[in-house]
C-alpha cells in the first residue's frame, strides 16, 4: 500500500471534514437549543450553494458573498422559525418534524421552480500546493480556514456575549431562563437563525468544492444526521469532530474498500452509536 496516497487522502478528508463539521453544527445547535430536528436543514444548505452561485454570476467574489450569506441565513432562519416552528415549539417532536419537513418541501419546490434541477458548479480557480503525490487544492484550504473561523466566531459568541449566554441558558432550561427574564421566543428564533446561517455558509463552501443541484440537500442532510449523532446530539464541538471523522472515513476507507461500501459502514456505525453511545462518541454515558 502506498503511504503517500494514504497521507494525501487523509489531508483531503481532514479538510473536507471541517466543512462537514460546520454543516452539521447548524443542525446540532438547533436541536440542542430547542429539541427540534430540523428537516429543513438540507434545503438551507442548498440555499447557501445557490446564493453563492447567483452572486458569482453577478460578479461578486464567492468568499465575499459568504458575508452576505451570513445575513441571508440569519434572516431566513428567523423568519422560518416564526412562521413554521414557533407555534408548535412545545408540541411532540413529530409535529416539529413535520413542520420543518413542510419547510423543506416549500423551499425545494421554490428552488426547483427558480433554478431547475440541473447540475451547477462554480467556475473558481485558486492556486494549489503540491508536494509529491500530495496536492492541496486552494479552494479546500480556504474552505477550512473559513470553517475554522466561523467555528471560533460561534464559540466566542456563545461564551463571550450576553446574547450567546442567553442561548446557552435557554438550551439548558428554557423555563428557568424565562424566570431569569430572558425572552425565550426571541432567543429561540435567533438560535434557529444561527443554525440556518451555519448550514448556508457550509453550503456556500461546498459550492466552491463540488458541483451541485437543487436536490443535493437530501444526501447532505442525512450525512449531517450521521455527523451530529457521532458528535452527540446538541453538541457543536462534537459536530466538528464528527465531521472530521466522517471526512477522514470517507477518504481513507476508499483505499481499502470500494467507495460504494462506505455508506453501509457509515450508517451501521450511526445506528450502533445511537444504541450504545446516544450522547455521541465524546459525550458522557
Amino acid at each position: 500500500m502506498n503511504i503517500e496516497a494514504l497521507i494525501a487522502s487523509s489531508i483531503d478528508g481532514l479538510m473536507l471534514g471541517f466543512v462537514f463539521g460546520l454543516m452539521a453544527m447548524g443542525l446540532t445547535l438547533i436541536f440542542g437549543v430547542m429539541k427540534v430536528i430540523n428537516l429543513g436543514h438540507g434545503p438551507f444548505i442548498v440555499m447557501g450553494m445557490f446564493a453563492i452561485l447567483v452572486m458569482s454570476q453577478l460578479g461578486i467574489n464567492p468568499y465575499l458573498g459568504l458575508v452576505i450569506v451570513v445575513l441571508l441565513g440569519l434572516l431566513t432562519g428567523i423568519v422560518v422559525y416564526f412562521v413554521a416552528v414557533h407555534r408548535v415549539i412545545n408540541a411532540p417532536e413529530l409535529t416539529t418534524l413535520l413542520a420543518t419537513f413542510s419547510v423543506n418541501m416549500i423551499l425545494i419546490g421554490a428552488l426547483t421552480i427558480i433554478f431547475s434541477t440541473s447540475p451547477r458548479g462554480l467556475d473558481l480557480e485558486l492556486p494549489s500546493f503540491r508536494t509529491g503525490a500530495i496536492t492541496v487544492l486552494g479552494t479546500r484550504f480556504v474552505a477550512v480556514l473559513v470553517a475554522v473561523g466561523v467555528t471560533i466566531a460561534l464559540y466566542s459568541f456563545l461564551y463571550r456575549t450576553r446574547t450567546g449566554k442567553s442561548i446557552r441558558a435557554v438550551a439548558n432550561n428554557r423555563g428557568a431562563a424565562e424566570l431569569m427574564g430572558i425572552n425565550s421566543s426571541w432567543i429561540l428564533a435567533l438560535s434557529f437563525g444561527i443554525g440556518t446561517l451555519l448550514a448556508m455558509i457550509s453550503g456556500g463552501l461546498l459550492a466552491t468544492l463540488f458541483s451541485f443541484t437543487v436536490l443535493s440537500g437530501g444526501g447532505l442532510e442525512v450525512k449531517s444526521f450521521v455527523i451530529v449523532v457521532l458528535g452527540g446530539l446538541g453538541n457543536p464541538t462534537g459536530a466538528l469532530f464528527g465531521g472530521i471523522i466522517i471526512g477522514l472515513l470517507e477518504s481513507i476507507t476508499t483505499i481499502f474498500i470500494p467507495v460504494s461500501w462506505v455508506p453501509v459502514f457509515e450508517f451501521v456505525v450511526f445506528v450502533l452509536i445511537l444504541l450504545f453511545r446516544p450522547n455521541g462518541l465524546f459525550g458522557a454515558r
Partner: protein, 322 residues
C-alpha cells in the same frame, strides 16, 4: 368477537372494497393503476399509524420494510419461480422477522433518537443492497417476461397483483381496527401517553412494542412485494426511498394520528391532491410548494388531522369514526 360487531369497521371495509371494484367495473386500466398506488399508500400509512399513532414511536424509515419485502419476494420469484402470492407472504414474514430483531434494541430508544435510528436503518439497507450482488447490486433485478407466463401474461399478472393489493389493504385496515379496539391496543396507547407510568400499571413495554413493530413491518413488506412484482423491476433507490416514508407520515398526520380512518383519508387526500397539482399545467411546477404550504397549515392549525378535527367538532360521529 365483540370488536367485529362494530358497524364502523364494516362501513370502512365496504367503502374501501367498493371503491376498489370501480376500476374493474369500468374496465379502466388507468383507474386501476391509480387505485393500485392509492391502496398501497393506504397500507403504508395505516401500518405506520400502528407503530406511530397507537404506540407513539415515529418510524421515519418505515419504508425499509417495503424494500425488504420487495427484494425478498422478487428474488424468490425470479430465481426460484415461486408463485407471487406465496413469495409476497414469505417477503412479509422475512421483513417481520428482521423487524423483530431490529426492534429489540432500537425500540429502547425514545423520541427523536428512535426516529433518527430508523432513518439510519433504512439508509444502511439501501446502501447495502446497492452493493449486494446476489440481489443485483446498484442496477437491481428485473424479470424476464416469461415470469408472467405463469399468470397468463403481464396484463393478467397486473390484474392479479391488483386483487391481491385490495385484499391486503382490507386486511391491513381490519388489523389496525382490531388492534385499536383490543387490550393490546389499549396497552400501546398507554405506552404512547406515558411509558414509565404504563410499566407501573403492569405493562411490559418492550414486549408490546417489539410485537407491534413486527406486525407493522408485515403489511408494507407484502405491499412492496406486490408492487415490484407488477413493476417487473426492483432497484435500491425506489425500494428504500426515504421520501416515501415521510410522505406516508404526512398522510397519517393529515388524516388523523391514532385513528383507523385517519391514514385512509390522509392517503386518499394527499394522493389526489398531488395528482391534481401535478397534472394541472399551471400548478405542476409549484406542486411541491403548494403541498408544503398545505401541510404546514395542517400541522400548525389542525393538529388532530381531518378525522381528529371532525371527532372534536361532531361528537355524535365519534362512534363511527374510530
Amino acid at each position: 368477537m365483540k370488536t367485529l360487531s362494530s358497524p364502523f369497521i364494516w362501513i370502512i371495509l365496504v367503502v374501501v372494497g367498493g371503491a376498489s371494484l370501480l376500476p374493474i367495473l369500468t374496465n379502466s386500466v388507468s383507474l386501476r393503476e391509480d387505485m393500485f398506488l392509492m391502496l398501497m399508500l393506504v397500507i403504508l400509512a395505516s401500518s405506520i399509524n400502528i407503530i406511530m399513532g397507537y404506540t407513539g414511536y415515529v418510524s421515519f424509515g418505515h419504508i425499509v420494510f417495503f424494500g425488504l419485502g420487495g427484494y425478498l419476494a422478487f428474488f424468490l420469484m425470479k430465481e426460484f419461480q415461486v408463485q407471487f402470492m406465496l413469495a409476497a407472504l414469505v417477503g412479509g414474514a422475512g421483513a417481520s422477522l428482521i423487524a423483530f430483531f431490529i426492534g429489540i434494541p432500537v425500540l429502547r430508544l425514545r423520541g427523536a433518537y428512535f426516529a433518527l435510528a430508523t432513518i439510519g436503518i433504512n439508509e444502511a439497507f439501501r446502501s447495502f443492497f446497492t452493493n449486494f450482488d446476489l440481489f443485483g447490486g446498484a442496477v437491481g433485478m428485473f424479470f424476464n417476461f416469461s415470469v408472467y407466463d405463469a399468470y397468463g401474461g403481464a396484463k393478467n399478472a397486473g390484474q392479479l397483483a391488483y386483487y391481491a393489493m385490495v385484499v391486503l389493504a382490507l386486511v391491513t385496515i381490519g388489523t389496525s381496527f382490531v388492534i385499536k379496539k383490543s387490550k393490546f391496543g389499549l396497552g400501546l396507547m398507554a405506552i404512547r401517553e406515558d411509558q414509565d407510568a404504563s410499566m407501573v400499571l403492569g405493562i411490559d413495554p418492550a414486549r408490546l412494542k417489539v410485537l407491534t413493530y413486527t406486525i407493522s413491518a408485515f403489511f408494507p413488506a407484502v405491499a412492496g412485494a406486490l408492487f415490484f412484482f407488477k413493476n417487473g423491476l426492483i432497484e435500491p433507490g425506489p425500494a428504500f426511498e426515504l421520501h416515501r416514508s415521510i410522505e406516508a407520515l404526512v398522510m397519517v398526520m393529515l388524516g388523523g394520528y391514532g385513528t383507523v380512518t385517519g391514514p385512509i383519508v390522509g392517503a386518499v387526500v394527499y394522493e389526489r391532491l398531488r395528482g391534481f397539482l401535478i397534472t394541472d399545467p399551471t400548478l405542476s411546477n409549484a406542486h411541491l410548494v403548494i403541498a408544503g404550504v398545505l401541510l404546514l397549515l395542517i400541522v400548525l392549525f389542525v393538529t388532530a388531522g381531518v378525522i381528529g378535527w371532525v371527532r372534536q367538532r361532531v361528537p355524535a360521529l365519534r362512534r363511527y369514526l374510530e
